[in-house]
């Protein structure tokens, strides 16, 4: 027990002590978190009136970011499967980082849900047995269950492995392998359930599509690897852990499959909307072309599509993708492109026009922007601190001192 407490003291100490660049980065994130917190204080006092949400567009930036981040969390499975199922040693070195990324993403998801609630003080109502979770009828209740479950799974697996490593002991398979297997299916479930949140609503034809869940998963498996390639490049640059090139190559080959499929699925959806040309296509019309001059989202969705095509061109032309800097550009474009497509391109047009034909546009207010930036910064900070500890334990820098006789 004492050695366990010591372990926590040691890792926390280690997490917060670092060089100049470390303090600059964490300090920068802390300032953004402070701003986000200040903005949220305003929202808590005055209500969601400080956002630009309305009865017509009742979900906005918060839920859009939430939806996107569920995908980032699910993408960890792309490292978990090669490591534990296909026994790839090179991926094994970074799988913990993938799982820590999932933890950070889920924490951000939960925070985005909390800031979106009109009555965060009543969060107890969604806790099973204490409150009254409407399970299994409500898909939002399912989401509460799967997201928290995924968080616990991902806290346990890397938590257990890192602790054993710290103690210089071999981990026992029976304490983590069953959970690894569960987490693979669970990762798929979190994004499926999140898609069902939208696709289950008959009153919103733009969302009421059977391919929404496959689209969510595929786009997550494109944005996830893109983000991981960048993160691993940063880790290579700033830390002692040297991620093997073969890991990035694996992620790149996943991207080569998922990015085109993502565009194909989007294309199928658009064909259905525009060729059928029923009144239900109004949301898609609004998104891509605007309705009677109201085209706030059109520039964003077209840039998203342009970004995806540029990224695809880069990853399919060997000359371009072999230049690392250009490859990173492709990854950034993929990430931003999918963020736009999932956030602004999917959540907001679902409300425009409304079910009885009202047309109110939406852009986030300053408060929403600051709160969102604050939550992303919290995620970044948590991830930085966790990865710092994990890498130190993995490379042997931070271990329990061997008792010498």
């Amino acid at each position: 027990m004492i050695s366990y407490i010591n372990y926590w003291i040691n890792i926390i100490k280690f997490a917060f002590i670092g060089g100049k660049k470390f303090y600059l980065w964490t300090g920068f994130l802390s300032v953004l978190i402070g701003l986000g917190f200040a903005a949220y204080t305003q929202q808590f006092q005055n209500g969601l009136i400080v956002t630009n949400l309305s009865d017509q567009v009742s979900w906005g930036a918060y839920i859009a970011n939430f939806t996107f981040l569920v995908g980032v969390a699910a993408a960890a499975v792309l490292l978990v499967v090669p490591t534990y199922i296909y026994k790839r040693d090179d991926v094994k070195e970074v799988v913990l980082i993938g799982e820590l990324l999932a933890i950070s993403a889920i924490v951000m998801c939960l925070l985005f849900i909390i800031v979106d609630m009109g009555r965060p003080d009543r969060f107890m109502h969604i806790i099973p047995f204490i409150g009254r979770l409407n399970f299994p009828a409500s898909i939002l209740a399912w989401d509460v269950v799967v997201l928290n479950g995924y968080l616990i799974l991902n806290l346990h697996i890397p938590g257990y492995l890192l602790y054993k490593m710290y103690k210089n002991q071999n981990p026992s398979k029976k304490y983590y392998m069953p959970f690894v297997i569960i987490s693979i299916f669970w990762a798929v479930s979190i994004h499926t359930v999140t898609a069902f949140l939208y696709s289950g609503l008959g009153g919103r034809p733009y969302w009421n599509s059977a391919i929404l869940a496959p689209r969510f998963l595929i786009s997550a498996f494109a944005s996830g690897p893109a983000l991981m390639i960048i993160i691993f490049a940063l880790i290579n640059h700033f830390t002692n852990l040297k991620v093997k090139q073969s890991v990035s190559n694996l992620l790149l080959s996943i991207l080569k499959v998922t990015l085109p499929i993502n565009m194909f699925l989007l294309g199928s959806e658009l064909f259905k909307e525009f060729y059928t040309d029923s009144t239900h296509a109004l949301s898609a019309h609004y998104l891509f072309f605007g309705i009677n001059g109201h085209a706030m989202l059109a520039p964003f969705i077209w840039s998203s599509i342009l970004f995806s095509f540029i990224a695809m061109a880069i990853i399919f032309i060997p000359k371009l993708r072999n230049n690392k800097k250009i490859l990173y550009v492709a990854c950034v474009l993929t990430f931003i492109g999918i963020w736009i497509e999932k956030g602004m391109g999917l959540i907001i047009p679902g409300f425009i026009p409304t079910p009885i034909g009202d047309l109110v546009e939406y852009t986030p207010s300053m408060i929403e922007f600051l709160v969102s930036v604050g939550i992303w910064s919290i995620g970044g900070l948590i991830f930085t601190l966790m990865v710092k500890v994990a890498i130190a334990i993995q490379t042997g820098e931070l271990r329990e001192k061997k008792k010498t006789a």
Binding site: I49, V50, N52, G118, D121, F123, H125
Partner: protein
């Protein structure tokens, strides 16, 4: 008959209407942003304190769900709410909670050939049901539609001027109290449910304000209290139903409840009482002598978005 054209570029009123809405929304929101400058926000962060009246009472954390309460516990909850509202509003408040009536099947019929778009029902509803005046919450939306179309997307909610206008008809929409309600299914905490007389209610003491029900509703019937509702003191209706027209706290969803605090006691809903044309008919379908039962038998009726299988209890007919 007019040609019902689905081409979006030819939606005539949409541009003007949408611009108007956008301008209005922008004006309201811009003033709000301006008031909260950066410095003020920083100061708020430093203080990070919340006004005492907003602090949730500790025991509210562990209160019971309405459906789990015994009759005695309901009485306590009602008394508590009464006290809370009296303190907040500085008025003598009478909180009522009539039980659903056995064997009642409440429905609402709307005669489209009579409605003249005066919106008298909207005003009466706002007054009766203590809806916030700024930002304005209204349960009833009246669409001004071109004769020749039933496409809701072509209706205009923001019409002005003298009504009824030539070539137009008027279609009020409020909560349809569906028998297969998507909103009830979606609520993650069972803060909204269907009572046995068919009315879909919301417990404002339980709602967490996630607004999933608003996304789920195909009739756009639900409204959210983006801020603490503001009602001039002398306009507050002091008889307030626990599950209906009580003054709402901020951050919860509300909607039409067929004036259950009135209708369960034999009165008419406020909107029907206010209607100058007799277009509105509320009643118990199980009572063969009721207006609605007779309309059901004699007239051809229809409901909105029947293909969604929501089974509304709010129907339309041509009288």
């Amino acid at each position: 008959m007019k040609n019902i054209d689905n081409d979006n570029s030819s939606i005539p009123n949409e541009l003007k209407r949408a611009q108007r809405v956008e301008k209005k929304t922008k004006q309201v929101l811009d003033t709000k942003i301006e008031r909260r400058g950066f410095l003020k926000m920083a100061a708020a962060a430093a203080a990070a304190t919340l006004p005492a009246k907003e602090a949730p009472a500790f025991f509210d954390f562990f209160k019971k769900h309405y459906k789990e309460m015994t009759p005695a516990e309901k009485k306590v909850a009602i008394a508590k709410l009464e006290k809370k509202l009296e303190k907040k509003l500085g008025l003598d408040i009478n909180v009522t909670n009539p039980d659903p009536i056995d064997n009642a099947h409440f429905v609402y019929g709307l005669d489209l050939s009579k409605c003249n778009g005066s919106r008298k029902c909207v005003t009466a509803c706002v007054k009766e049901n203590n809806q916030g005046r700024d930002p304005a919450i209204q349960y009833i939306k009246v669409l001004e539609m071109d004769i020749g179309t039933m496409n809701l997307e072509k209706g205009d909610q923001y019409y002005n001027g003298i009504v009824p206008k030539k070539g137009k008809f008027y279609m009020p929409i409020q909560c349809h109290q569906c028998d297969n309600p998507p909103c009830v299914k979606s609520c993650p905490v069972e803060a909204t449910w269907k009572e046995k007389d068919g009315i879909v209610v919301i417990d404002s003491e339980w709602c967490i304000g996630c607004r999933y029900c608003m996304a789920a509703c195909p009739y756009e019937a639900r409204r959210f209290n983006y801020s603490e509702p503001k009602i001039p003191k002398k306009e507050v209706n002091t008889t307030q139903g626990y599950l209906s027209n009580r003054v709402k706290p901020k951050g919860v969803v509300e909607k039409c409840h067929f004036c259950l605090h009135r209708t369960r006691e034999g009165k008419l809903p406020a909107c029907q009482e206010a209607c100058p044309t007799g277009a509105r008919k509320f009643g118990n379908l199980n009572d063969p002598k009721s207006d609605v039962a007779i309309i059901f038998k004699k007239k051809r009726i229809f409901v909105l978005k029947e293909e969604l299988n929501t089974s509304p209890r709010f129907f339309y007919y041509f009288g």
